[in-house]
């Protein structure tokens, strides 16, 4: 055990975690020349295309140091706030963390939140100042910032460039010297933490775990504590670039497990694995069921593809247990699913994966959060409303509560004003303001989660000219004055466009929704009135004028093919629209409320 080091790489988005992981793998010769590529651990197509990490990735390497071989288990984590639960479980599996800070951008919101998570878990922090090769790097000042933040010595901060391969050996040495070897009782009953799971279509779910006590052996009968289910450990092994089956994974080490489980729902990240006959008495603490934060309806564009969509969603859920869904129906859109997501990025990813991996064209309705509604009849028992149309009629309604978050924003002092007014506009209350350095401020707000769903990130980026980072965590439900704003197209309410809004900005947003829809709904052969209404009261109105011209005059030199193809394309474009009543609505229109400021 004394030669094992378990560590994760944590940082704000894009500070270079995955690139640093590449360099560590190169230096320890864990990948061959042929296997090498940038951000090697980001192996999902979507990760590679977007250049971000969506899932944690674990890998083992061997590092010889002063005549001894050390086994390193590295976990690369995602930076985005939507996946912070996953980061917290990765952290719980380690004794140390490389905290990467971009030498040009310095400390950002997720630097702080991930650092606190690591400190809560008593991890040894190795601060790494990355991207020192950049022209715009401020290594000295940022080192000061880091020293201030974690209270370490200046010499503890390792200067590195993951891109240029600077400081890599120093980091590896520091891992051996500074990260404590795992402790644990090899003789105690098995106690292992599940920190990730991956779906493999051929082998079922692969569970990634860290053994704290005891050991896990091939063929052992094991039990998952939270789900209470028993399995046989069909295969265990360590995680190199390919999996290495082993007879046993001992206390202190990290490995994978295959049990023949086919459904990701059965493997919960954060759960404890133990021996079925001789279970541990103290499961690893901190397990939570991941709770969705944002909800939206997902509907097939073609109504008859509902069953296909169900199959696709079920398959997606196999490898993404954080996706939840239940069937629902909409007067406008027919049958579909109400889905819960970790956040807006997660929503986007699911939508993209449906299209890409399952060739499903879907409509996503206006996202919303989940509310508690109390009726006059029973003022104590909340009705959970995760679809605006489920809100009880105002006459029966006693009160509504909505989820609040604690938001932390780090920005330059010159943008404090605009950032504050944005947060106040978004119904935020300032709770704290701390100068991290002379010109960098951390602002804390309590605000409704619903407000960050509505165009918050984009606005924040704009008002801070890109110099603001944002992080949040939920702080419970609070009472709120909400109304349901409906949208009528050609006189018919389109339920999928309804939104719950705060009374104070319902009129303004209603008006802007109408304006945005006018932009997005293509002209058709007749005028289409667009109205926003609260109950029976119309609060805003626009009209999409009838299409006047839809014909090209000339056909150049008999180029009938080109013309046919153009019209075929036009028809295909329409296939991506949904007909509600006699109005064709393009997909984007359902998300219109999110882009009111574009």
């Amino acid at each position: 055990m004394k030669n094992i080091r378990n560590f994760c790489i944590i940082a704000h988005i894009d500070h270079g975690k995955s690139t640093l992981a590449d360099r560590l793998l190169d230096f320890t010769k864990s990948v061959t020349e042929r296997e090498r590529k940038e951000q090697l651990l980001d192996n999902m197509d979507l990760e590679r295309e977007r250049g971000i990490t969506i899932k944690s990735h674990a890998i083992q390497m061997v590092y010889p140091y002063k005549g001894e071989d050390y086994v390193f288990n590295l976990i690369d984590t995602p930076g985005h706030v939507d996946f912070s639960y996953e980061v917290s479980r990765s952290i719980a599996a380690c004794e140390g963390a490389l905290l990467i800070v971009d030498a040009a951008q310095s400390i950002q919101a997720q630097t702080i939140s991930n650092l606190y998570l690591a400190l809560e878990n008593d991890l040894e922090i190795i601060p790494v100042l990355n991207k020192v090769d950049l022209q715009s790097a401020n290594p000295d000042e940022v080192t000061d910032d880091i020293v201030d933040l974690i209270g370490c010595k200046r010499e503890d901060v390792i200067r590195a460039s993951a891109k240029e391969g600077i400081g890599i050996e120093e980091i590896l040495n520091a891992i051996v010297e500074r990260v404590p070897a795992p402790k644990g009782d090899p003789e105690a009953p098995l106690r292992a933490l599940v920190f990730d799971s991956v779906y493999n279509p051929f082998r079922g779910i692969e569970t990634y775990f860290r053994v704290f006590d005891g050991s896990i052996k091939k063929g052992q009968s094991i039990k998952f504590v939270a789900t209470g289910k028993n399995y046989s450990a069909d295969e265990v092994g360590t995680l190199k670039l390919v999996q290495f089956p082993k007879k046993e994974i001992k206390a202190g080490d990290v490995g994978y497990l295959i049990t023949g489980i086919k459904n990701a729902k059965e493997v919960k990240v954060g759960d404890t694995i133990t021996d079925a006959e001789n279970p541990t008495k103290n499961a690893v603490s901190g397990f939570e069921d991941v709770k969705p934060m944002v909800f939206a309806g997902i509907y097939p564009v073609e109504t008859d593809e509902y069953e296909e969509l169900r199959t696709a969603m079920e398959k997606l859920q196999l490898n993404d247990a954080s996706l939840v869904f239940v069937p629902e129906s909409s007067a406008a859109l027919g049958f579909g699913f109400r889905c819960g997501f970790l956040g807006m990025l997660h929503l986007e990813i699911i939508q993209e994966r449906l299209e890409r991996e399952f060739d499903m064209t879907v409509i996503t309705t206006v996202p919303n959060v989940s509310y508690n509604a109390y009726t006059l009849k029973d003022k104590d028992k909340p009705i959970i409303v995760s679809n605006p149309t489920d809100l009880p009629e105002p006459t029966y309604l006693d009160r509504v509560e909505e989820p609040f978050i604690k938001a932390s924003i780090i920005t330059k002092s010159e943008f404090v004003g605009p950032v504050m007014s944005l947060c106040i506009e978004k119904r935020g209350q300032i709770t704290n303001q701390t100068y991290l350095t002379q010109d960098r401020v951390e602002l804390s707000f309590d605000m409704p989660l619903a407000e960050i769903v509505f165009d918050f990130y984009d606005r924040l980026k704009t008002v801070s000219k890109g110099y603001a980072s944002f992080d949040y965590s939920p702080i419970g439900m609070r009472k709120s004055k909400l109304v349901k704003v409906d949208v009528l197209l050609n006189g018919n309410t389109v339920d999928a466009l309804s939104a719950l809004l705060h009374v104070d900005n319902a009129y303004d947003i209603g008006k802007r929704i109408c304006e945005k829809l006018k932009e997005l709904i293509p002209r058709q052969q007749f005028d289409i009135p667009i109205q926003a209404a609260i109950g029976a009261k119309i609060i805003a109105r626009e009209t999409v004028k009838a299409l006047r011209k839809d014909v090209t005059a000339k056909c150049y030199g008999g180029d009938i093919s080109r013309k046919r193809k153009l019209l075929e394309k036009q028809k295909k474009g329409k296939k991506r629209m949904r007909q509600v009543g006699n109005v064709e609505i393009p997909q984007e229109a359902f998300m219109a409320v999110l882009k009111l400021n574009d």
Binding site: R548, K549, R564
Partner: protein, 402 residues
């Protein structure tokens, strides 16, 4: 091919003086593209070069292509059309050499229609005199407008005076004359458009092609509109002009036999009719398109490359076989533009019951909106539907599901 259906032929009754439908479809056409212009009109995205340097080589290459492709057309040539670009940049010897090649290699009917597109600034007495001595017997004059403001805005090479004088002169040499007029030009008032039409009528032109100004990508016009130097084109205005156009010309005895074409009886353009009725045509010259049997093909749209290929004895063309669905879509798309309409019986016999049922299914909404009408088995766009006919056609398309 779909238009050979006997049933359809029996059902048709055409104007006495115009060729019967059967005659139309058995004709073959030659289209010859002359890819040179004096200057670029702001709205134009056609293929042309403003340098005449390679003209002789190009005429030679065209001759070569003509002789190489002599066996492609199944029937006799009844219609030859010089389009462009600006064919009125051709000299007498250019024309003579092209005609010699055609007559040497192709069977041409006794009285073919031979049209040359001409720009007003080229039509002086001596050029017209020369033309009238060749086999050309029909002129299509690119007038576009009789008003200086419009011509300037579009960067035409001619002025308002030449627009009128070229016609007066042309009439001394040719009877079969067509002019092009453009409507929907930014800031063109209804009065100015009416005045344009009155001028054309006053000049006694038997055929008028009239197009809405369209803003194509990568044109100067698009650039100027984006930069707000020229106001944008307005569909409502275009529709207003179009309605005036149809009313005025129909009242004066012109038939709107195809969306953009109006002709007095006996003066329908055979070339245009070919495109919209599925007749075979060979397109010769850079960027020209051909249609024979169920194959469409098109030449490379680059003059030097075209010349080079033909010098090497190669045909620089791409081709495409039309599937049944492609043919159905084209039939709908082209026929809805014509006064002959879509024949449901033809759809059934040529494409099958599935297509016919699909079509019947999809026309209902348009019938209810008064955009399509059925006259017996013939489906046509209504007056209200005309300006939307591409959109309607696309809705009636069958998509090639991969």
């Amino acid at each position: 091919m779909f238009y050979l259906s006997k049933i359809e032929l029996k059902l048709k009754e055409f104007d006495e003086v115009n060729p019967t439908f059967e005659e139309i479809i058995l004709m073959s056409s030659l289209y010859i593209h002359i890819p040179f212009c004096k200057q670029a009109c702001h709205y134009c995205d056609f293929h042309f070069s403003t340098s005449l340097k390679h003209k002789d080589q190009l005429v030679e290459a065209i001759g070569k292509e003509l002789s190489m492709r002599k066996n492609e057309l199944p029937g006799a040539v009844e219609n030859i059309y010089f389009g462009g670009g600006t064919p009125s940049l051709l000299s007498e010897s250019d024309l003579t050499s092209i005609f010699e090649t055609i007559y040497a290699h192709y069977e041409v009917v006794e009285y073919p229609e031979i049209t040359l597109e001409a720009n007003p600034d080229d039509l002086d007495i001596s050029y017209l005199q020369m033309l009238s001595g060749t086999k050309v017997n029909r002129l299509s004059i690119g007038v576009q407008s009789f008003f200086e403001e419009d011509l300037k805005l579009m960067n035409r090479a001619h002025n308002a005076g030449e627009a009128e004088s070229s016609i007066l002169l042309a009439k001394q040499f040719f009877d079969n004359i067509s002019i092009d007029l453009i409507y929907g030009i930014p800031e063109m008032s209804v009065e100015r458009w009416q005045a344009n039409l009155s001028k054309a009528l006053e000049l006694g032109i038997p055929h008028i092609s009239s197009y809405a100004l369209t803003v194509e990508p990568n044109t100067a016009l698009k650039h100027f509109i984006d930069k707000e130097i020229i106001p944008p084109v307005d569909d409502d205005l275009a529709k207003l002009h179009f309605d005036i156009l149809v009313d005025t010309l129909q009242n004066m005895g012109y038939e709107n036999y195809e969306f953009s074409n109006f002709g007095k009886p006996g003066y329908f353009s055979q070339n245009n009719t070919a495109y919209w009725t599925g007749k075979f045509y060979l397109g010769i010259g850079p960027s020209a398109h051909s249609f024979v049997n169920s194959t469409r093909s098109w030449n490379i749209n680059n003059n030097p490359k075209y010349i080079k290929a033909l010098e090497a004895g190669e045909l620089p063309a791409k081709r495409e076989e039309l599937s049944r669905t492609d043919r159905y879509n084209e039939y709908i798309m082209t026929r809805l533009r014509t006064q002959w309409g879509v024949d449901l019986k033809v759809v059934e016999t040529e494409f099958g019951l599935n297509y016919a049922a699909y079509l019947m299914d999809h026309i209902q909404a348009f019938q209810q909106q008064g955009l399509l009408k059925l006259e017996g088995d013939i489906l046509k766009v209504t007056g209200d539907g005309k300006f939307l006919s591409d959109g309607i056609a696309s809705e009636l398309f069958m998509l090639n599901l991969k």
